[in-house]
């Protein structure tokens, strides 16, 4: 996408620069070529491709049914994230850190206690807002065990810059011990 954009930019700049070259041969100034060709057909073709690409990728990002999916509630407030999920012995609440198993899809249900916040872990998925009175569900999945940083991506007041959290993706053993109530 970036390369395509750069190519279009170069094309427009080149056309612009060439307009200033000293007059020589007869110039092509037909409305058909410039406006219909350049202004109508050219962008339409590119946009159609982009749109199709966007829809296909967007479709793939859409949560699908998967029996191994686990569900977590993320509760945002000013300026704290609290995560809750079922463990072996009742709900486990973890402030500031989201524990997930690596390699399994996770549905994060977003809630807010006050203003709008947005859940965003750049390396795991896009972002989604937590809106008062509404429930949004975001599907994330970590390929590898490890630590990922997440942050609030919707301006929420004075503490917005520090409104972050961590995601810890466990391997199988780590996940089992987390669910057993260890850490």
């Amino acid at each position: 996408m970036l390369a395509g954009g750069a190519a279009i930019l170069v094309l427009v700049c080149a056309l612009l620069a060439l307009a200033f070259r000293p007059r020589g041969a007869v110039r092509d100034t037909s409305v058909r070529r410039w406006i219909v060709g350049g202004g109508l057909i050219f962008p339409t073709a590119i946009l159609a491709v982009l749109l199709a690409y966007g829809l296909v990728v967007g479709e793939r990002l859409l949560p699908r049914e998967d029996p191994r999916t686990i569900r977590v509630v993320a509760e945002a407030s000013r300026w704290q994230w609290t995560f809750a999920q079922p463990g072996n012995a009742g709900m486990i609440r973890t402030p500031g850190v989201l524990h997930i198993p690596a390699g399994r899809p996770v549905d994060v249900e977003l809630r807010t206690l006050d203003v709008i916040h947005a859940f965003w872990v750049p390396r795991l998925a896009g972002k989604l807002d937590a809106i008062p009175g509404h429930r949004n569900v975001l599907r994330i999945e970590a390929g590898q065990p490890g630590m990922y940083y997440g942050l609030c991506a919707e301006y929420c007041g004075i503490g917005h810059a520090g409104h972050g959290f961590r995601v810890i993706a466990h391997d199988a053993a780590g996940w089992a011990s987390f669910q057993a109530g260890g850490e």
Partner: protein
């Protein structure tokens, strides 16, 4: 004494502004007011620029202690709000106010007093925001003021009230100016200037102003609702009590997305005007460009949801809006290629305005490309609310608006000052601004992709963003130095440069067919236009017009005369006699301001007083117009004759009311949308308690509306319809008062109160207008017997009965069905 000098003195006596403070306060001249608007807007640009520098100073280093988060939040909120509401929109409005009558071959705009009122409202509303900033209580919830962050519980201070009231005050100015511009373009043109001979800039402004009439009412509605929630606890946006913060987002972006095109289109109009002159040719594909402007205006309203891709919208809807968002790239592409083709067709010269246009091209195309990226949904999930978006938005706004306006400054400055450009600072300023801008914002794309969010006052040092941010800030200061040079350059030209020739660039449009700087009446006589570029065929047009060889060349009765034409054909329709200088606009703006100040201070009980004052001033405003003596057909030159506007049905006043009511209808439509949206989408519905339906009250109201609708239509009788409206009024008030649940307990009651209140207010206004015309008839005013006033009253009566009945029925129906 030559003929030209004699005419000049005679017209100057009629149109001129007296010296001294009284003249300054009472002038309604469009050139003066246009320049005032532009100067005020530029002052706000400098203030917004200083705020930008403070932002960049804060972000230059990690962990900066320059400003705390509370101050920083005020900084970027004020920067964004000032740039969008107090700089960009008033700047192009001022430019259009100054330029349109000149390009169209008219002597002033259609509603000179409204022009003045608009400027005063803008000045006062903008000052409110500056006062907030000086007092350290500036708005701090971001320029789009998302609820519930901006609601009372999370913004308890007065900060958000300053935003809601100040911006609404300024929006009043935007609405009246838009009506002024639309009617002027449609009606006040030189004879023979049919729509397809209109300069492209007028087309751009026509569409822009119409978009303002559709786009601004949702924002005004949103602001009023939020202020009602903050002031009286009516829970429109509070999810606990049946409100929904998403309603604010819809109303805001219904305005906010078209807003970007509203800002871009006038600038594109500037490009389409200057570029062919620089290339010494005509624009390529006039018809295609007009089509592209119309398409852009239309499509931009399908896009608002594109700012809400991350709120959780159904996938199909997302696909639709994603497609619509990318679709706007096509009319934009048509324009870009029309400009490129024009350059290829002509022999372009790299004069100073052209240099700035090149800056526009490069920057704007990059902004457009990143815009298409943001419109692709999966990408937006990643880029939304990062520095990438900040960068994109500045490429579009700065590239698409600031560069063309700089080009316009250098192109038309001689027109305003009457002096010729003779320095080289402008070039140095260009390179500083261009390089500084790209340094600042190109890097912000990169840190955005690295994950830096927008609207953060600080960031950790170990995350790899420091170098980019530091360089970006350096770029910001280079830009600022560039603007410093630009200001010095302007001052030099104002005070030092030699006088200019007429038409220094060899342009073909009518604004160059006059003395420079232009006299108060623009042209001593109106030309007959039979070409898109009248000056090309008749290079000496300026002289012949000054000698009076056109229409309306003889001053008469001390009237400020200009011609109105039939909209499409440009055939002469009637003579418009414009009002002269008056203090009424200033007084009305002051009383309007008193309302906003009382609201701000929380003196709600007193707030209705200035509203009554505005109604009284409005009465006077209309009363002082026109006279009691009919004139019939009057000679206008070349053996033609025409009536004055007071004696015709399609006067500018009629058209102005049509467009004002269209904007008003959008407001009402947005309100109905809000009602339906809350009912279907918001949490905690249906409400615990519905309205108590009353068939008799409903019947009285509907019967009243029917009487108002059916009586007196043919003979333009007004008393019957007014009586019908009175019954409707009673029914509306009785419904709010006796039947509706309390507006504070649930959003349902709150919406009903606003809906019924809106109906009652408009019914009352229509009654007032009906009574006004009855009085005028009795007093023997021509406009109320032969002219358009009864027709205008009828228009208001129809509007009021339609909206009033809709409100009444809409409030009763769900309860009756339940």
């Amino acid at each position: 004494m030559t003929q030209a000098l004699r005419l000049h003195r005679a017209f100057e006596r009629i149109w001129g502004t007296p010296r001294g403070w009284r003249g300054t306060l009472s002038t309604v001249n469009h050139s003066t007011l246009g320049v005032r608007l532009m100067v005020t807007a530029f002052a706000f640009f400098l203030i917004g620029g200083v705020l930008a520098m403070l932002i960049r100073a804060q972000l230059a280093t990690p962990g900066s202690a320059f400003a705390g988060p509370d101050i920083y939040n005020q900084l970027f909120t004020m920067h964004g709000s000032i740039m969008m509401f107090l700089f960009a929109i008033p700047m192009f409005e001022g430019f259009a106010i100054y330029m349109l009558p000149k390009m169209l071959g008219a002597r002033d705009l259609a509603f000179p007093r409204m022009t003045a009122y608009g400027w005063w409202c803008y000045l006062f509303g903008g000052s409110l925001l500056l006062i907030a900033m000086v007092l350290g209580v500036a708005p701090d919830a971001g320029w789009f003021m998302y609820t519930p962050l901006s609601s009372k519980p999370y913004s308890p201070g007065i900060n958000s009230d300053f935003w809601l009231l100040g911006i609404t005050f300024v929006e009043i100015s935007a609405i009246v100016t838009a009506v002024d511009i639309v009617v002027s373009i449609l009606k006040l043109r030189a004879p023979g200037m049919s729509l397809d001979r209109m300069p492209l800039f007028a087309w751009y402004m026509l569409v822009t102003a119409m978009m303002m009439l559709i786009g601004f009412p949702p924002l005004i509605l949103g602001s009023i609702l939020l202020e009602l929630e903050r002031a009286f606890g009516w829970p429109f946006f509070d999810a606990e009590r049946g409100g929904d913060s998403l309603l604010w987002q819809h109303l805001f972006w219904l305005f906010g997305h078209p807003e970007v095109y509203i800002i871009f289109l006038p600038a594109a109009g500037v490009v389409s005007t200057i570029l062919p002159v620089m290339a010494r040719t005509r624009i390529l594909g006039y018809g295609w460009i007009v089509g592209a402007i119309l398409a852009l205006g239309f499509l931009s309203f399908g896009l608002w949801v594109h700012h809400m891709f991350t709120v959780g919208i159904p996938h199909m809807a997302l696909a639709f809006f994603s497609a619509a968002s990318t679709l706007v790239a096509i009319p934009t592409g048509v324009q870009i290629f029309a400009w490129l083709g024009t350059l290829w067709a002509g022999r372009p010269q790299m004069k100073l305005p052209m240099l700035y246009l090149v800056g526009f091209f490069v920057t704007f195309v990059m902004g457009g490309l990143t815009g298409v990226m943001v419109a692709v949904v999966p990408f937006d999930w990643q880029a939304h609310d990062t520095a990438f978006v900040t960068a994109h938005l500045h490429y579009v706004l700065f590239g698409g608006f600031v560069f063309p306006m700089l080009a316009a400054t250098y192109y038309w400055l001689g027109h305003v000052t009457g002096r010729q450009y003779s320095y080289t600072l402008g070039k140095a300023a260009f390179w500083l601004i261009f390089i500084g801008f790209h340094l600042t914002f190109f890097l912000m794309h990169i840190v955005g992709l690295l994950g830096q969010p927008r609207r953060i006052d600080t960031y950790p040092a170990d995350i790899g963003w420091t170098g980019y941010n530091l360089l970006s800030s350096v770029g910001g200061f280079v830009t600022a130095i560039g603007f410093g040079l630009f200001v010095i350059d302007l001052l030099l030209q104002f005070f030092h440069a030699p006088r200019t020739r007429r038409n220094p660039w060899g342009a073909g449009t009518l604004e160059w067919a006059m003395m420079l700087p232009p006299p108060s009446y623009n042209i001593a006589s109106l030309p007959q236009v039979d070409d898109r570029e009248p000056l090309e065929a008749a290079p000496d047009l300026a002289l012949s017009l000054a000698r009076g060889e056109g229409y309306l060349a003889e001053p008469r009765n001390n009237w400020r005369e200009t011609l109105a034409v039939e909209t499409a054909s440009g055939r002469i329709d009637h003579i418009v006699v414009l009002p002269g200088n008056t203090l009424l606009p200033l007084w009305t703006a002051l009383v309007t301001g008193a309302f906003f100040v009382l609201m701000l201070l929380g003196l709600y009980a007193w707030a209705p007083v200035p509203l009554i004052g505005v109604a009284a001033l409005g009465w006077r405003w209309a009363w002082v117009q026109g006279g009691k003596q009919p004139f019939g057909k009057l000679p206008i030159g070349f053996g033609d004759e025409a009536c004055v506007h007071a004696e015709v049905q399609g006067s500018p006043g009629w058209w102005g009311n049509v467009f004002f009511l269209s904007a008003n209808g959008t407001f009402f439509g947005s309100l109905l949308f809000g009602y339906a949206f809350l009912w279907t989408i918001a949490p905690n519905w249906p409400p615990p308690e519905l309205l108590t339906p009353s068939v008799p009250i409903l019947a009285i109201g509907v019967a009243g509306a029917a009487v108002a609708a059916l009586f007196g239509r043919r003979v333009r009788a007004l008393k019957g319809p007014v009586a019908g409206l009175a019954a409707l009024f009673v029914a509306l008030i009785a419904t709010v008062w006796l039947l509706a649940p309390s507006p504070t307990s649930h959003a349902y009651g709150a919406v009903l109160a606003v809906l019924l209140g809106y109906g009652a207010l408009h019914v009352a206004l229509a009654i007032l207008i009906g009574m006004f015309v009855v009085r005028r008839r009795g007093a023997g005013y021509v406009a109320a017997t032969l002219g358009a006033e009864p027709r205008i009253a009828r228009l208001w009566i129809d509007y009021a009965l339609a909206t009033g009945a809709t409100a009444l029925i809409g409030a009763h129906m769900p309860a009756l069905l339940a």
